[in-house]
Subunit: 335 residues, 2 copies
């Protein structure tokens, strides 16, 4: 198989009997060439299967028409929403979206930002694990928008965890719980910190006692360790860093004969797709992830177009979805 040569702009120009610059303009500056020549050029290009070489284009113009979205763990269904939303918005803006997985690893994330940096028009960093300082530096080189992470001077869209955690605590309190345990996720997680802070504040208001365990890895695999700690502590209500962990906890609880919600109520964060078909179905705080992804892309696009001075922060509402994993406290050993 001959590694066939890709048609270049010069090929098209020659075939169409015009100069390369005309071909270029036919694509990028429709008004700049005669309607008639333009059609001809486009037809010839189509016939030759010509597609402008993005590398060459980027070199001169600095624009690549590509946005990168980095997430800590593609595997986590939570990010599916962000991805979908970002894709929609990117498509609407005529941009190609590429995804990168940072494996929850700041080093990996930094490397991706460095390598991809010159090759994309901007970044959406979802749940970035990078320290503020590094984010700010990266933001100087590329337009950046953060999702569920706030850093002064960088555009970001975050979920309203204050209201969300209050909803959780109120729900639990109304079921008679007097204390709850928070199962923490990765220490670098900004939203993890916000969740914990919100929980503490809300609990103080409602007169609940709170403790924090962990950190645990925020996946199914983190479940057993967390669940065992919960059992040992005799908690009646636990709030997990995210749904994957919550589901892992419930699995382990079931394994150990602890009833949910009879013996302990479990709450997650994210409302991932599995939350509605795990067993029991999971009470969880839903975020508007698609919106978040879309807004973030829009923020990046805005920066590309106009170097806005003060990047905006947007707060998206959250909503507690009550399912079967939470219930009234059961005063242990039956009356």
């Amino acid at each position: 198989m001959p590694p066939r040569k890709r048609a270049t702009i010069t090929d098209v120009a020659a075939a169409a009997g015009v100069a390369a610059s005309t071909v270029s303009r036919a694509f990028t500056r429709p008004g700049r060439v005669n309607q008639h020549t333009r059609e001809h050029v486009l037809a010839v290009a189509e016939e030759l299967g010509y597609a402008p070489n993005p590398a060459a284009r980027a070199l001169e113009s600095g624009r690549t028409g590509t946005l990168a979205l980095l997430v800590p763990d593609i595997t986590n269904p939570y990010f599916s929403g962000v991805i979908k939303g970002a894709e929609r918005a990117a498509a609407a803006a005529g941009l190609t979206l590429v995804l990168g997985d940072t494996a929850e690893n700041p080093g990996q994330e930094e490397q991706l930002v460095r390598r991809l940096g010159p090759a994309v028009d901007g970044f959406v960093l979802s749940a970035s694990r990078l320290p503020d300082e590094q984010l700010r530096r990266a933001a100087e080189l590329n337009p950046i928008a953060l999702v569920n992470r706030a850093t002064p001077g960088v555009a970001c869209v975050v979920a309203d965890f204050d209201s969300g955690t209050r909803q959780i605590v109120d729900h639990l309190a109304s079921l008679g719980h007097r204390a709850l345990v928070f199962l923490g996720g990765p220490p670098e997680s900004w939203s993890g910190a916000r969740r914990w802070a919100g929980l503490q504040a809300a609990a103080a208001r409602a007169g609940l006692e709170v403790r924090r365990f962990g950190p645990y890895v925020p996946t199914l695999g983190g479940g057993p360790a967390a669940a065992d700690a919960v059992i040992a502590a005799g908690a009646t209500a636990v709030v997990a860093h995210n749904d994957m962990l919550a589901i892992g906890v419930m699995q382990r609880l079931a394994e150990r004969g602890v009833g949910v919600p009879t013996d302990v109520s479990v709450v997650g964060f994210d409302d991932i797709v599995g939350a509605e078909f795990c067993h029991p179905t999971l009470t969880t705080l839903a975020e508007r992830t698609e919106d978040a992804g879309a807004r973030a892309v829009e923020a990046v696009v805005a920066q590309v177009l106009t170097r806005a001075s003060e990047p905006p922060t947007r707060v998206l509402p959250t909503q507690l979805v009550v399912r079967r994993s939470t219930g009234p406290v059961h005063t242990a050993p039956p009356n």
Copy 2:
């Protein structure tokens, strides 16, 4: 915020007091420069935060150091395995992996291949929805490897559906089922076709009757329609195109008061992460998705290095994971 200028190779060269070519070689041809100068150059580069511009590099060398992995639906946990495996292999080869979502849409897929084509060193197309002809043409321009899709002349790695479907049928037959219904997915899906063909062959061998319903959309959302059809048909065993659909079916079945596996047994394909925590847990055919992703990347890398003449086809074993969604037939209305 001044859109700070990125350091270029000339900046580094000037700062290090050498020629640009030396800087270039310090990075790409370690043996070609003096160990001493090389260290110096690298140090200066690091200090300036220099990262080679991939676009410029690609322009001259034709190599971008980037691989693209396209999947029909990032949201589907099935592809998580492929992605993980591909990432691992790409990292091992020193390549950056970017992901693209084709939204189950051949048009979108084609556009991505066109746009990304000149910007990457090769593609892994997972469950491609593109017609053979187009795949072959794309393969002329870029090294390509297919996952769960076979096209003559293009490298591919596929799951062993023949053995897999036989396992499913044997399992069902041994539970006393005499007939089964296949709930089809997207018509363009190659693996869907293979699954159906395998099922038919295996059923014929085992003396089972098979019918095919659908196509349904291979997500939770496809469940209700499929489940209702199953109920109407009075089937005792159904095999769904994939796990998402299977879980959606089970949800709907539960809603309509049909017991799984008491009244109907359900089997899926893929063994996604949710299969072990849905209710009941799902019997499903597991593929070695991570391996598949890794092998595919390796195949692409091999093509990049040596324009091999005959691209290989690799078949990966499959394995039926029996869980709680399948059971013995229950001769309906109780004895």
